[in-house]
Symmetry: C2
Subunit: 190 residues, 2 copies
């Protein structure tokens, strides 16, 4: 789908009969986390602006005209071991991450989350190599503060982020990294 | 609008030229909290299932058929003083709160949030008296465990919940109650 500002998002109407993409991997992992009382993290609904609704019957309303709108926050948030979790997830076929793939206000949102004591990061999958990295907002901000580049090299993710292990259950265990990073902090609160 | 299960939600397409309703009061208060670096709390987008998208041009996609879907979680969540906040907000014209107004799995969601160390509650406005109460999930669960009623009397909110002060900025200062309730807990983490 296309956002008003032209940013493309790999939006799927149906997820049947397809290989798993990053969004599906994260949703399945979040379901695993929820079912095992590990964390409660959900993907937010796709933000849209509704223009017309047709009330066909008392129990069925059909939206007949709506537009995709730019998300004001990130796609995913929730709670893990008492800590607020907030992140955005993106795929790229390039061997670098184009900054056009993430909205400036989403980065600012993650920075504010960090200032509020939450855990903010981005998850980026380099699809050609099928490598998925977790990059904390602090490291993302460092890059933006010290570079005028329009993209982040994969090497920066390798050196400043964390490669997320892809397995069976959960298929993308990104909380393993958060647990290791924030272990002390989390233990203190236990 | 009507949900598949018949639960009605007071959905507004346009908010212009109308008196403030509970959702608008909360959104305005959340904006105030964000702008003053007090908390970062957002309303989630309305969950829908998209059936048809018309890609009119490279920069404009129009949803031509979609349906409202039952939300899997609550309408609002975010972070306040490092604590995860999660709640649902409802209006009623009755002098009691019909339990049909809130989904069973939303209540279960709030209970899990509490178990995870988050702060979960519902905000209910009795529109005829224009009184808005915050009722924590524990108190809501207590009522459900000890009653077979299909509704919660307003008196229960008065005795077990907290009347939210309505003012100018923010117009509905519900976090004031959370701050007082969790003050020690929050201070410990400071």
């Amino acid at each position: 789908m296309n956002y008003p500002n032209g940013i493309k998002k790999n939006y799927k109407i149906s997820t049947s009969n397809r290989g798993m993409n990053l969004e599906e991997d994260i949703n399945e992992s979040n379901l695993y986390y929820r079912n095992n009382d590990i964390a409660i993290i959900y993907k937010k609904p796709t933000p849209i602006t509704i223009n017309k609704v047709d009330y066909k019957s008392r129990t069925d309303a059909v939206i007949t005209e709506a537009h995709f709108t730019i998300p004001s926050t990130t796609d995913y948030n929730g709670i893990y071991k008492g800590k607020y979790i907030d992140f955005e997830a993106k795929e790229t076929r390039k061997d670098y991450f184009p900054l056009a793939n993430i909205h400036k206000h989403q980065i600012e949102h993650l920075q504010k989350i960090r200032e509020c004591g939450g855990i903010g990061f981005i998850i980026v999958r380099f699809t050609l190599k099928n490598e998925t990295y977790l990059l904390e907002i602090d490291k993302l901000s460092n890059f933006l503060d010290n570079s005028n580049r329009k993209s982040i090299p994969k090497k920066y993710f390798e050196q400043n982020g964390y490669l997320i292990k892809q397995g069976y259950r959960p298929c993308l265990d990104y909380l393993k990294i958060i647990k290791e990073r924030y272990n002390e902090e989390i233990l203190e609160e236990k």
